[in-house]
C-alpha cells in the first residue's frame, strides 16, 4: 500500500530530494554557479523522465491522481522550468545577482506545479497552489536591490494572498456542502446539477484559480509583476504556472463538477471573453514589451479558457494544445528579451527594438515568428493552437464565443504588427551587445519550433494530448 503510493509520486520525491540536497550544498558553498545550475536542470529532467516511466493510478486517499493528463502537464512544466533556469544563469550573472537559491526555488515551484496537476483533492490543490506561488513571489522579488523587482514581488504576494483567501473560502464551502474534499465524492454530490451552496463555493474557487492564470477581471497584478520581475523569470511565470493552473482548473471542473457543466460554463465563458478583450485593448497602449506580453498572455489565457468552456474531451484537448504551443512562443520571446542588451541596459521597450533586423537578423526573425505565432497567423504553430480552440468551441455550439474571440485577436494584431514594423523598418539608435549563447540558442530553437518543426510535432502532439484529455473519460 505504502510502496504503491510512494511509487506514484516518484517525480515529486526526486524534486524534493534534489531541492533539499542542492540547498544544503549551496548553503555550505555559499554560491551557485554553472555546475550548480546544471545539476538543477538535470534534476528537473530526471523528474520529467520519472513522470513518463512511472506507474499511473490514485494514491494517498485520493490526494494524488497520476494519469495521462498529469504526466503530459508535468513533462511540459519540468521542461519549461529547466529552460528558464538555463536562461536565468547568464542573465543574472551579468547583473551580479547570481545566487544559489534561484535554482532551488525554481525546483520547488516546479514541484508545487506537479502537485497541482495531479491533485485529486481540495487539500492537495491548495497545498500545490501555495507551494508554487510562494516560490514565484520570491522569484519575482529576486533582484531585491531593484525597486521595480521588489514592487513586483510585494504586489504579487499581497494580491496572491487575497486570491488564496478566496480559493480557501470557496473550498471550505464546497467541503461543507458536498461533505468531502475529494473530487470524485464531490462529483457524486453534484451529478445531476449542483445545489446553490456548492455553486457559491465553486465560483469562489474559480475566482481564486482565475487569479493564478491571470484571467480578467483578476489580471491587475500581471503587467506590474511582469515589468518588474527578472526577465528570464517572467518567461517562466508566463509559461509553466499557467499550464499548471489551467490543468488544475480543467480537473476541478471536469472531474469534480462534471455534472454541473451548464452552471460553470457561463462563468468560465464570461471570464474567457473578458480576458480576450482586456488583453487586446489594454495591450494597445503599452510601450514596454514585458507589459505588452503580459497583456498578450491575459488574452491568450482567454483563448485557452474558451477551449475549456467548450467542455468535454475536445475542449480539454484544445486547451492543452493551445497552452503547450503558447508556452513555446512565450518562452522563446522572453529568451529573446533575455539575450538582448544595449549599452549594458536591457532592451525592454518597443522603441529599443528599432532596427533590430539589421543588427541581429536571427533574433529579429525569431521575435517576428513569435509575434506572428501569438497573433495566430498560419502556418505558424499559434495558428494551429487557435484552430483547436475555435473548433472545440464551434463543435460545442459556442460559435458566437469563437467569433468574439476572433474579433479580439484581430484587435491584438495591431500591437504584434507594430513591434514587427519597428524591428524591421526603423533605424537603430546604437549597437546591440552580443547575446548570450544559451539564450540565443533557446530563442532560435523555439522559433524553429513555431515553424516548421512544430508542424511535424503536431502529428505527435495531437494523439498525446488527446490521450491526456481522455483521462477524464
Amino acid at each position: 500500500m505504502t510502496h504503491a503510493n510512494l511509487s506514484l509520486v516518484g517525480p515529486e520525491i526526486i524534486l524534493a530530494g534534489s531541492a533539499l540536497i542542492l540547498l544544503v550544498v549551496g548553503a555550505f558553498r555559499g554560491k551557485g554557479g554553472v555546475v550548480f545550475n546544471g545539476l538543477s536542470v538535470l534534476a528537473l529532467l530526471a523528474a520529467a523522465v520519472a513522470a513518463v516511466v512511472g506507474p499511473q493510478g490514485r494514491g494517498f486517499a485520493g490526494g494524488v491522481i497520476v494519469d495521462d493528463l498529469s504526466t503530459f502537464a508535468k513533462v511540459a512544466i519540468y521542461l519549461a522550468s529547466a529552460v528558464s533556469l538555463v536562461l536565468a544563469d547568464r542573465w543574472l550573472a551579468r547583473r551580479g545577482d547570481s545566487k544559489f537559491e534561484l535554482p532551488v526555488l525554481v525546483i520547488l515551484a516546479a514541484l508545487g506545479m506537479g502537485v497541482m496537476v495531479s491533485a485529486g483533492d481540495l487539500i492537495s490543490l491548495y497545498i500545490g497552489v501555495e507551494l508554487h506561488s510562494l516560490a514565484l513571489y520570491v522569484l519575482a522579488a529576486f533582484r531585491r536591490d531593484d525597486a521595480k523587482s521588489s514592487e513586483a514581488g510585494l504586489k504579487y504576494f499581497v494580491l496572491g494572498a487575497l486570491s488564496s483567501g478566496l480559493l480557501l473560502y470557496g473550498a471550505s464551502l464546497i467541503y461543507g456542502f458536498a461533505g468531502s474534499t475529494q473530487f470524485d465524492v464531490i462529483a457524486g454530490a453534484v451529478n445531476d446539477g449542483a445545489g446553490q451552496g456548492i455553486l457559491f463555493g465553486l465560483v469562489f474557487l474559480i475566482c481564486g484559480l482565475a487569479f493564478k492564470v491571470s484571467a480578467a477581471p483578476f489580471h491587475m497584478w500581471t503587467p506590474d509583476v511582469y515589468e518588474g520581475a527578472p526577465t528570464p523569470m517572467v518567461g517562466f511565470f508566463a509559461a509553466a504556472p499557467k499550464l499548471a493552473a489551467m490543468v488544475l482548473l480543467a480537473r476541478v471542473l471536469q472531474e469534480g463538477f462534471g455534472g454541473a457543466v451548464a452552471q460553470w460554463q457561463q462563468v468560465v465563458l464570461a471570464i474567457a471573453l473578458l480576458s480576450v478583450f482586456v488583453g487586446a485593448f489594454a495591450g494597445l497602449a503599452q510601450k514596454n514589451l514585458k507589459r505588452l506580453w503580459a497583456y498578450s498572455s491575459i488574452a491568450n489565457i482567454g483563448y485557452a479558457l474558451v477551449g475549456l468552456a467548450a467542455g468535454g474531451e475536445a475542449g480539454v484537448q484544445a486547451m492543452l494544445m493551445f497552452m503547450v504551443l503558447y508556452m513555446v512562443d512565450v518562452t522563446g520571446f522572453f529568451a529573446c528579451l533575455t539575450a538582448l542588451q544595449r549599452d549594458g541596459r536591457s532592451m525592454e521597450t518597443i522603441d529599443d527594438m528599432a532596427g533590430l533586423f539589421k543588427e541581429k537578423p536571427g533574433l529579429a526573425l525569431a521575435m517576428t515568428a513569435f509575434s506572428l505565432s501569438a497573433l495566430g497567423l498560419p502556418p505558424l504553430s499559434g495558428f494551429f493552437a487557435k484552430f483547436y480552440v475555435f473548433k472545440a468551441a464551434i463543435d460545442a455550439g459556442l460559435a458566437w464565443a469563437a467569433i468574439l474571440a476572433l474579433v479580439g485577436s484581430v484587435v491584438a494584431a495591431f500591437y504584434y504588427l507594430r513591434l514587427i514594423k519597428v524591428m524591421w523598418f526603423d533605424a537603430a539608435p546604437g549597437a546591440v551587445e552580443a547575446p548570450a549563447f544559451s539564450a540565443r540558442t533557446i530563442a532560435i530553437g523555439a522559433a524553429l519550433f513555431s515553424f516548421p518543426v512544430g508542424l511535424v510535432a503536431l502529428v505527435w502532439l495531437d494523439p498525446v494530448s488527446r490521450a491526456a484529455a481522455a483521462a477524464f473519460g
Binding site: 494517498f60 492537495s124 507551494l131 520570491v138 454530490a189 445545489g195
Partner: protein
C-alpha cells in the same frame, strides 16, 4: 442540554461582537486584543462540538503565537494609521457595493439551506469514535493517508524560510564575528606582546 445551549449562544455572541470590534476599533492594539477574545470564544465553540484538539490548537497557536506576533508588529512598527485610512472615504462606495452584493448572496444561500437542507446526497462527516481522543484520530490519518500533503506543507514552510533569507539577508564585509577555534588557538605568544617602554615616551602604536 440547556447549559450547552446557553454556552453556545454566549460564546457565539462574544465571537461575533469581538470580530466586529476588531474591524471597528480605532486603536490597532485594541483590535489585536479583540482578536484574541474572538479566538478564545471560537475555541469554546470547538469544545462544544467535541473537537477539543482543534480548540487547544487555536489557543496555543493562534493566541499564543500568531496574535502575540501581531501585537509585536503593531507595537514595534511605526505605522501611521491615519495615513492608511486616507483613501477610506474614496473607496467606500465600491467597497460597500461589493460587500452588499456578497452579503445578499450569503443571505440567499443561508435561507436556501435553512429551507431545503444543504444537499440531499452528500456524504456526512463521521464523528470520531467515543473511546479515541481527537489527537489519536488525527494522528491515525495524518501520517498515513495525508502524509503526502503533510510533507508538501513542510516544503511550503521551507520555501517561506528560503524566501525570507534570500530577500533580507545581507553579508556585510567589515562585520566582526566570533570564531571559537581562533579563540581557542590563542596562546600567550600570539595574543600578547611585551613592549619595553622607556620612561616619558609612551607607545606610538
Amino acid at each position: 442540554m440547556a447549559l450547552q445551549a446557553i454556552a453556545f449562544y454566549l460564546m457565539a455572541t462574544v465571537t461575533i461582537l469581538a470580530g466586529l470590534a476588531v474591524v471597528f476599533a480605532r486603536n490597532p492594539v485594541h483590535s489585536v486584543l479583540f482578536l484574541i477574545t474572538a479566538f478564545f470564544s471560537a475555541a469554546g465553540l470547538f469544545v462544544l462540538m467535541g473537537a477539543e484538539f482543534i480548540a487547544m490548537l487555536l489557543i496555543v497557536v493562534y493566541v499564543g503565537a500568531v496574535a502575540v506576533l501581531f501585537l509585536f508588529v503593531v507595537m514595534m512598527l511605526d505605522v501611521d494609521f491615519s495615513q492608511l485610512r486616507e483613501g477610506f472615504a474614496r473607496y467606500l462606495p465600491i467597497g460597500l457595493l461589493v460587500a452588499g452584493v456578497l452579503t445578499i448572496e450569503m443571505v440567499i444561500i443561508a435561507i436556501n439551506v435553512a429551507l431545503h437542507g444543504a444537499a440531499s446526497k452528500n456524504a456526512t462527516p463521521q464523528a470520531s469514535l467515543p473511546d479515541v481522543s481527537n489527537a489519536e484520530t488525527i494522528g491515525r490519518v495524518l501520517y498515513t493517508d495525508y502524509v503526502y500533503i503533510f510533507q508538501a506543507a513542510g516544503l511550503v514552510l521551507l520555501v517561506a524560510m528560503i524566501g525570507a533569507i534570500v530577500l533580507t539577508l545581507r553579508h556585510k564585509a567589515g562585520i566582526k564575528r566570533q570564531s571559537i577555534p581562533a579563540q581557542n588557538a590563542r596562546t600567550p605568544k600570539t595574543g600578547m606582546t611585551i613592549v619595553d617602554i622607556k620612561p616619558g615616551e609612551g607607545i606610538s602604536e
